[in-house]
Symmetry: C2
Subunit: 77 residues, 2 copies
C-alpha cells in the first residue's frame, strides 16, 4: 500500500508515472498498478505501456546472472 | 525450463504464442519470455504486446479477492 500511496502522490504532480521492479517484486509491481487504477478509475487513470526485459546483476559469489524486469506506465487518459 | 520448452514447441507451429500467468507466477512468466527470446534471438523471436490486468477469484472461505494477471506475446518478427 505504501507504493500505491507513493504512486498517487506522484500522479498528482505529473501526467505519467512509471512503476519499475525486477525479480521477485515483479508480481507486486503489477498489484500496485492494478490497485492504483482501480481506486482512481473515475479520475481517468489507466495503464500505459508495459515493458519487460532483463538485466545482468552480479551475485555475491561474483558470478553474473540475468534477472527479469518490468516497467508499468500509469497515465491520465 | 518446462515452460520454455513448451513455448518453443508451440512457436514452431504458429506465429504467435501468449504466455499467461496470475498472482505469484507473474515473475516466472516474465522469466520464461526472456529466456525464450534470448535463446531464439537469431531466429527473430521477440516480445509482442504485454497486457496486465486483474481477475476476481473465489477463496476457500467463500470470499472474492482480486488477483493480478499478465499476458505476454512472443512472436516472430
Amino acid at each position: 500500500m505504501a507504493y500505491v500511496t507513493s504512486t498517487l502522490i506522484q500522479m498528482a504532480n505529473q501526467p505519467k508515472v512509471t512503476i519499475k521492479a525486477r525479480g521477485l517484486s515483479i508480481g507486486r509491481a503489477v498489484d500496485v498498478s492494478q490497485i492504483t487504477i482501480k481506486r482512481m478509475e473515475t479520475a481517468g487513470y489507466k495503464i500505459g505501456d508495459v515493458r519487460i526485459g532483463s538485466e545482468q546483476v552480479q551475485s555475491e559469489d561474483g558470478r553474473t546472472r540475468n534477472v527479469s524486469t518490468i516497467e508499468i506506465e500509469i497515465m491520465k487518459s
